[in-house]
Symmetry: C2
Subunit: 353 residues, 2 copies
DNA sequence: TTGAAAGCGCTAACAT
DNA sequence: ATGTTAGCGCTTTCAA
């Protein structure tokens, strides 16, 4: 079979617009018009072209088209860790919205590596993507963001504070981690807890920074001694969190409550508590940051801070589309999404010690 | 700033190879040669071109290039559910390998929707991707796979049995779910269990089919009455699994052991057991299919079937690269990856009932 | 309404 | 070793 031969040789002869024109007995211009806008085409030509295209299995070459139209119909999405279900959900939601708008989303995984981040930015630029969604690994990768700006394509940042040019902040979708952390902390304080530990990775990034701020704010507004406010910065690895949590829970004046991020750190804390014979919630109250499967499914079910990943993705897509359509004048360029506290079974007043 | 104006107007004037040629004082041909292969270029030209390109911030237009070279440097990856951490890990591993080889991976999410699957196949074809990795939602979407084949680009299938053309199977990376399920079942039987339930979603797809086959094979080879082999087909939703599991565990001759897939179904089963006051492992032994965070972190830790997601992704990428390089003659076109049983705390001999 | 032709930015064949 | 030029497949003026 010739298709087979062609494939093996790497020479695939594809049907072009000229083939369609020939079989339809019209000019290439007419085919183009018929297949696209449909303006200025007689019914006869439209019919013949459609028939010919169908018969030949014609698929227009979008690369060639975008060479002319200067628009690729593709937007890039740069994520620092695709294997993180949180990111995956956001990406998915954004993709759905962009697809609706007829755009193809390309996701790139930077694995938290600034060098890869830069490489992917360059790759995206070279591919002439119409726009980009970026969830950077850190807030500061100046070179990469400068390059991004240079590309000229609109960019929307996800939940990061990236320094903009000339004090004009980048369009961004932000999550109100500060308010979320404050709510959670206030809740625990209200329950009577005084020694509360916040387990979160670095203040290097916006979410961590904001959480720490909200955490401290809750102590401040309750006007209680913040000596019990324990901020523990963690790497995101489970084992590390577990060892760290063990150390934390072994102190003689150990925290009576813990606020722990995500799946890994939360899991580490839970295992540490178990290993020390501490029962949740009797001996230790726990709040999860992020409503993961683990939090929902654990026994007892873990009270959690939740925000809508779908909303984040969708809002980001919306912001980008707005930019793409050039209607950037109207509408906000930044969105701040709320965080809710989902009450479950893992928090009770501390037992007197 | 003109860049600003251009951006707002949507007219971004990019520097082309001609600009570089002009500033370097050479012809476009020389620039092309200097920037690519580097063959037949004097040191002087190479230097001047590099300087000019650097100065202008020149980024070659890969779209235009691929119009000539008939190769895009992009491969597509079609996944039925990106938010599933299993897929995400596979995608990540494949992406890493392809990146090494200088290829850009484009992931498309089909959300288990055959229509979207076909649409994405068409989109990928039109974009002239060099190759594709496909993790279909179901084994049968004939129209889509026929289209795929028609595109002429090599395709590698992930863990699915897709009917090939002319009895020649597609290149594929498969996981040995059958052997995994058999090992798990054999282990439980060896422990003394006779009434074992397998909780897995549909036999519509290869993994489910294979697991069921392995499960039954274990009963057959032990030469024991398979009446206790309970195959429960589930949808993937947690609540459904929980209700289903409740019903299952309420039977008067309830299973003494459960093999449950993933996070949601496993969670449903665990919650159902808890609600009925059944203790794991004393009253119910549990094996997880897939070594998720939940399985590792649960108390007691859940014995689990594990296979390397990284290996799946990497093997798929490798197979595709092999095809791309045209060295398809040598080497296997299919890979079968092993499944291990990770022993933990959730399985003990059944208590006499 | 239609066809002819220019050209998007690049590479590769051909000339020099 | 370098410059010139013909396309890659498409859209889009410009004439007819």
């Amino acid at each position: 079979m010739s298709n087979m031969r062609a494939r093996m040789a790497g020479i695939v002869s594809r049907t072009t617009i000229r083939d369609v024109a020939r079989t339809a007995g019209v000019s290439v211009g007419s085919v183009s018009r018929a297949l696209n806008g449909g303006k200025n085409v007689s019914a006869r030509v439209a019919r013949d072209v459609a028939a010919a295209a169908e018969k030949l299995g014609y698929q227009p070459d979008l690369q060639a088209r975008s060479l002319r139209t200067r628009t690729t119909g593709m937007v890039g999405c740069l994520v620092s860790d695709l294997a993180n279900p949180l990111y995956a959900s956001i990406v998915q939601a954004a993709e759905a919205r962009l697809r609706e708008a007829g755009l193809l989303m390309i996701v790139g995984n930077t694995a938290n590596d600034p060098a890869r981040e830069r490489a992917m930015v360059a790759a995206f630029r070279s591919r002439r993507l119409d726009g980009m969604l970026v969830a950077p690994g850190s807030d500061e990768n100046d070179r990469a963001w400068r390059e991004l700006a240079a590309g000229g394509a609109p960019v929307v940042i996800l939940d990061r504070d990236v320094p903009g040019e000339d004090d004009v902040p980048w369009p961004a979708v932000l999550v109100d981690h500060r308010e979320g952390a404050r709510t959670a902390t206030r809740y625990l304080i209200g329950l009577g807890h005084r020694r509360i530990a916040l387990l979160t990775p670095g203040a290097r990034m916006r979410p961590g920074r904001e959480r720490i701020a909200g955490f401290k704010a809750a102590f401040a507004e309750a006007d209680i001694d913040p000596a019990g406010a324990l901020v523990c910065l963690q790497e995101s690895s489970m084992d590390f969190a577990q060892g760290d949590a063990l150390e934390l829970l072994r102190r003689d004046r150990r925290p009576t409550a813990i606020i722990a991020l995500g799946t890994r750190i939360l899991a580490g804390a839970l295992r540490a508590a178990r290993d020390l014979g501490l029962s949740v919630p009797r001996d230790l109250s726990v709040i999860a940051i992020g409503d993961t499967d683990l939090a929902a499914v654990h026994s007892p079910a873990i009270t959690a801070l939740r925000w809508s990943l779908e909303d984040v993705g969708r809002a980001a897509a919306e912001l980008l589309l707005q930019r793409l359509r050039g209607t950037s004048g109207e509408g906000q360029s930044r969105a701040l999404l709320p965080v809710d506290l989902v009450l479950r079974e893992s928090c009770v007043p501390p037992t007197a010690t």
